[in-house]
Amino acid sequence: MYLKQEEEKLLDSGNPTVAKCMEILIALGEIYGAEKLIKVKSAHISGISYQNIGDAGLEWLESLNAKVRIKTTVNPAGMDLQRWKEMGIAEGFCKKQLRIIRALEGIGAEPILTCTPYYLDDIASGEHLAWAESSAIIYANSIVGARTNRESGISAIASGIVGKTAEYGMHIKENRAPDVLVILDADVDPAMAGFKIGSMLKNEIPLLRARRMFSDDELKLLGASMAATGNAAIFHVEGQTPEWKDFKIPDEKIEIDGDIDEFDCEPDLIALGCPHLSENELKAILKTLMKIDRNVRKDTWLFTSKEISEKNRKVVERIENYGVKVFSDTCMVVSPATERYECVMVNSGKALTYLPKLRKVRVKFGNLEECIRMSCNEKN
């Protein structure tokens, strides 16, 4: 890989953190065949729950001795920073989690603690990013048209500190071309469609053909599910996403039916917000609760970013008046709080994939309205 003089200097800078970060970017560039490093506009760090990275991760973060050069944001933690007791989080866990967040603040990262950084920061088509968090990566590439590879938490930190990434994969236009045309059944649920597409495709990029337009919230759920069951970093939707017209329509074709895979159990928790809820989704939940007009009878947790929650304080208050809890900074997948339940109902293909693996709970699927009706014990 070709390095500019200023990049060579960083390698021998005498600051071990900066040198290691450069080594990481160069190693990734070598492995994936990059010719050079390119500047990125922002970095987003994932894998910061204490549950996930443990003491080794915590100590490594605390050992970092450099500041980020570009806007660098942080994914959800293992608990709501204010309401962790209400979630049933142990004090020992809380202390370690706070140390992780302080270490990240120490390198200049912003602890927005959300998997939806695209709601808080304007990113534009064609911009290069170094994001970790598979659901945010696929959203940025597919729905916005920005360019990021599937970074790990550590490589995102390296990019934040150096301000660059190796130029390979999603940063190069021709690597973003679709390989397979995916025909969606008319009544398919977008999250379930993403779940199935991710499981079927190995490293192929899909171009979706649907009978109707999807909202950005639906595309968010579709992409998050696809990135959880597969390796996808991007998808295109005919007539809808920003880059679908730039490439020729693939010859290979598959069809996705509207059936919902059976994940059946009797839910004792309903959890929405994987990825974190948007303003529109919060409003849709409130509307459904108002229609049913009854308090929830099962534990119901919503997850959104602190910023969206504060911007929609009235909506959140009205939702909580129905007995729902609206948490920030965390989610049902990264927090150990979910583990005390038996069966969790979700509208997310990503949660469906990770809850059984990481939190050892059973799962049931429904769309947003079906989930809220389940919360209120209302027949669908």
Binding site: E30, I31, I53, A56, G57, E59, W60, I154
Partner: protein, 130 residues
């Protein structure tokens, strides 16, 4: 003394006895990070220790958290001294760099044909010396 050239992914110096696995490896789950003993039942080196050795395996696999698992092993004093891969991937590469464990790949000769368990070898930058 003979030497083979490769590509230094995590540059450094290491030496030790060779241990070879012909299977792809994840430091998250395949090995006990407290003892350095391989616990994956389907591994061809199950029950053996990789601590302090030059660990040769084809390719890394699995979750990105595996990078931190390698760091845990290093902190516990039971990490491999060095790693040789047929071809490196991101998780093991990043883990080796943050743990300062030398890692080299794409050797000019097939490492499975040249080395045997128990051989004493050295990694020096982009060279393996034996």
């Amino acid at each position: 003394m003979r030497k083979i050239k490769g590509r230094a992914i995590s540059r450094g110096e290491a030496e030790g006895e060779v241990i070879i696995s012909h299977k792809n490896f994840s430091f998250l789950g395949d090995v006990d990070v407290e003892t350095g003993i391989v616990v994956a039942e389907d591994s061809d080196i199950s029950g053996k220790s990789i601590s302090g050795k030059i660990f040769i395996f084809p390719y890394g696999r699995g979750s990105t958290v595996g990078s931190y698992s390698l760091l845990s092993m290093k902190k516990n004093g039971v990490s491999p001294a060095g790693i040789i891969n047929v071809e490196s991937e991101a998780v093991v590469a990043v883990g080796a760099i943050i743990s300062s464990i030398p890692l080299i790949d794409k050797l000019e000769k097939n490492p499975f044909g040249v080395f045997r368990d128990g051989d004493f070898i050295k990694i020096r930058g982009e060279y393996v010396i034996y």
